[in-house]
Amino acid sequence: MTITTLKENEFYIILIDGDLDASSSILLDTTLTEAFSTKENKILVDCSRLNYISSAGLGVFMSYLQDFENNGVSMILYNVSEKVKNVFTILGLDNLIKILPTKEDAIGLMN
């Protein structure tokens, strides 16, 4: 799995490519910590190439919820495959993390 980050205007975009399992979720964790410490407050996660997410991967997203909320950071996932979205839904995380169909939707909501 690889993670690419890029800055578009005020948006910090994270592109996840591959499976997010126990070992690769550490990489995501590092990326999010970095974003949080550099005071990025508009984080977009591109999940178009995210094929599979394990409970450890969910754990990473979940562990930042509180910190992001307390510091006014908003994070939106978009282009999430049906399968991955279902995992979020079953766990109930869809109520806590915003998941939108497209990047435009996400940017629109942020603005």
């Binding site: 126990a22 409970s55 450890a56 969910l58 754990g59 990473v60 919820l65 509180q66 109930g92 806590l96």
Partner: protein
């Protein structure tokens, strides 16, 4: 009978036969006994002599043969002591026997036979000590040769009954006769038939006498000691010869000059002593070289042994430095070791201060000398730059050897001499070999310790597996209204899947739960154990299912790390009212099958996993629903390991397949139904070892 008791027996028998020998001598010759035929008397006397020799041989064969050879010079010392004792007694008796005793024939006979016994003891015991030496590092050929010789020695005992011309003078006379071409030498030839008959055995004895391998491994000190002892032994032998030759050891019925056994053996032991003495003297100048080589081999051996003996790694380092210094007679040195990651591990130094080591290292650094890659030798510190302070120190030359194994750098050994050009080519070669061996030893030591550590871990994991097995309930026979079958398997040795049951209200209610801890392996297993504690505590409060989840969320939030969570489904089955309450905290949706309506339902409802939201707002995210049930209805619970199991193509088994196989086998008993599901799952994935923990529970209301 043990070897020890044989030894005692032979000793006693030898003593008895000696006593009989003496008694027969006294009674037959000194008292005029008219009843005994002189020929018979002679025969009996020789008979006892043969017995005495035979038992003495057998005694020493066991006495010396049963001992393991440890130090050759101890054996030589033994031979020497026996020789000195016997010869002194012999000479004492000969020269200091008062005339009065000479007259007393019985007393004289006693002394004579004492002498006879002593010489036989000396030659037989020496013969068996020589056997030890000759057969040291033996080959099959020497072994066979020795056995032939030994049998010949046994046969020669019988020679006591006959008289042989064994006078060496006869031999000289015959050769003289041949040399001067005298016509008739046949008369003289008759006298040496004995030598002709025995010549094969003489050649055999000479061949065996050339086996002196025991000398090679003696060190200088022991060689000197051996030379002295063998020289004395030779002297003793010569005195015996002289005594025998002068017929001092003879009486009316026996003359040792005519006894093949005594003479032959004496010649043999003397000859072997003589050969050994010569070889010892020739070996003396080279022994220091041998010793050094042996010392080196011993160091290697010690290094390898230390791995097995469970000594600490520090001990090996000490040994390494000490041996390194000794092997090239260096004045001082130090050893620096690193661990697998290249971090500092150990530093030991000898005959040099830490400050001086620091000083030398500083110079090395400034001269860009890298001791990690290859051997580096400094002929003189003077030739290096930045060395002002070092010149005031006594150290002159140095050699630096990196220790490495399979390109892995292990450390550096530095040796120092207080003279210039201290390390020549030979020293470098020796050190190079030594360091390679030492590196191997250290590497092996680390591998062995790692293997042991891993073994311990495996044992621990095995225990953990057993402990975790006990966390899951084994008895699912709760009451007459339920049939439950549960299956659970972890991807690793331990896992994070959890299920539990709890009957309460006098069996009117049963709580059933299934859960999955995020992640897998040991961390998940610990969290699973915490979940069991939380479930078993909270369920006793008889809370509604959703309220249970609220408390459980709080507890999980307090117990688990920030990025861990638990999904849980809880069923509270009320048999009185024929209904069950259901709450789902992020766990995969369970199935309900109504037998009456033949309807298969996915129990969908909202619910957030435990430990995700760690504040009071959790209650907004959980709900509880009630469902009525009837006899033969089913509840099917599972974890995501089932539906997320993938086949070779990466396709997931999925809810659809699971539903399908369940519906197909909906009439089966819970156990058979579970088996069908697993069978279908394995068929889909093509393997039994899935990447995630997986569990299925089938419950039937009866």
């Amino acid at each position: 009978m043990s070897v020890k008791s044989y030894r005692k027996l032979y000793l006693v028998l030898a003593f008895i036969s000696w006593s009989l020998l003496l008694a027969s001598n006294i009674s037959f010759y000194f008292t005029e006994n008219p009843f005994i035929n002189p020929a018979l008397a002679d025969f009996l006397y020789n008979y006892f002599l043969c017995l005495f020799i035979l038992f003495t041989i057998l005694f020493f064969k066991i006495e010396i043969g049963s001992k393991k050879i440890t130090s050759q010079d101890d054996y030589l010392w033994r031979v020497f002591i026996t020789g000195v004792t016997t010869i002194l007694l012999l000479l004492f008796i000969r020269f200091f026997t008062p005339a009065k005793i000479q007259e007393n024939q019985s007393l004289y006979a006693l002394f004579f036979h004492l002498n006879l016994g002593l010489i036989i003891i000396f030659i037989t015991s020496t013969f068996y000590v020589w056997k030890k030496f000759i057969l040291y590092h033996k080959t099959t050929r020497t072994n066979i040769a020795w056995h032939i010789l030994e049998y010949f020695v046994l046969i020669s005992i019988l020679s006591s009954f006959f008289i042989f011309e064994v006078n060496p003078v006869n031999l000289f006379e015959y050769f003289e006769c041949l040399y001067y071409g005298e016509d008739d030498c046949s008369e003289k030839l008759e006298k040496i038939y004995f030598y002709i008959f025995t010549s094969p055995f003489i050649i055999l004895a000479i061949y065996l006498s050339l086996n002196v391998k025991w000398i090679a491994l003696l060190n200088y000190k022991k060689k000197i000691r051996s030379i002295v002892l063998i020289a004395f032994t030779l002297l003793i032998c010569v005195i015996y010869f002289q005594q025998i030759y002068e017929h001092q050891l003879s009486n009316s019925s026996i003359d040792l000059m005519e006894n093949v056994f005594v003479l032959g053996l004496l010649v043999f032991i003397t000859f072997y002593a003589f050969v050994s003495l010569l070889v010892l003297m020739f070996h003396l100048p080279t022994s220091s070289v041998f010793e050094r080589k042996i010392e080196e081999v011993k160091v290697f051996q010690k290094l390898n042994q230390s791995i097995q003996e469970g000594v600490t790694e520090e001990h090996i380092y000490q040994l390494l430095l000490q041996s390194g210094i000794n092997s090239v007679e260096a004045d001082s040195g130090w050893l620096e070791m690193v661990d697998e990651k290249g971090n500092f591990k150990a530093f030991i130094h000898q005959q040099i201060d830490k400050i001086d080591v620091f000083e030398i290292k500083k110079v090395l650094r400034k001269n860009h000398i890298n001791t990690k890659k290859e051997l580096y030798s400094i002929k003189s510190f003077k030739t290096l730059s930045h060395n002002e302070r070092i010149l005031n120190l006594p150290y002159k030359s140095s050699i630096m050897l990196p220790l490495s194994s399979n390109n892995e750098f292990l450390g550096t050994l530095v040796l120092i001499k207080n003279k210039n050009n201290g390390f020549d080519k030979t020293a470098t070669d020796v050190l190079y070999a030594f360091v390679s061996q030492a590196s191997l030893a250290i590497k092996n030591y680390r591998l062995v310790s790692d293997a042991l550590q891993n073994q311990r871990y495996r044992e621990e994991v095995k225990i953990a597996k057993e402990v975790q097995k006990r966390l899951l309930p084994t008895n699912m026979m709760l009451n007459d209204h339920l049939q439950i079958h549960a299956f659970s398997k972890a991807a690793d040795d331990v896992g994070g899947d959890y299920y539990d049951v709890y009957p309460y209200s006098d069996g009117k209610k049963v709580a059933l739960t299934i859960g999955d801890v995020s992640g897998n392996g040991t961390t998940a297993a610990f969290n699973m154990a915490q979940m069991k504690g939380i479930f078993q505590s909270l369920i006793q409060l008889d809370l509604p299912a959703d309220e249970f989840m609220v408390y459980a969320n709080k507890a999980v939030g307090a117990c688990l790390e920030k990025n861990s969570f638990i999904t849980l489904s809880l069923f509270i089955i009320d048999f009185e009212n024929k209904k069950f309450d259901y709450s789902r905290a992020g766990h995969c949706q369970s199935f309900y099958y109504s037998d009456k309506n033949k309807v298969f339902t996915i129990l969908e409802q909202k619910g957030l996993g435990l430990g995700i939201l760690r504040n009071d707002s959790y209650k907004k995210h959980i709900e509880k629903n009630s469902y009525p049930f009837e006899t033969n209805d089913l509840l099917i619970l599972y974890t995501d390991g089932i539906i997320e199991a993938t086949n070779e193509k990466g396709e997931e088994y999925g809810m659809e397949n699971l539903q399908k196989i369940l519906i197909q086998n909906i009439e089966l008993a819970p156990k058979q139904m579970t088996d069908k599901v697993l069978h279908d799952l394995y068929e889909f994935t093509g393997k039994r070892d899935l990447n995630d923990d997986y569990s299925v529970i089938v419950l039937k209301f009866v």
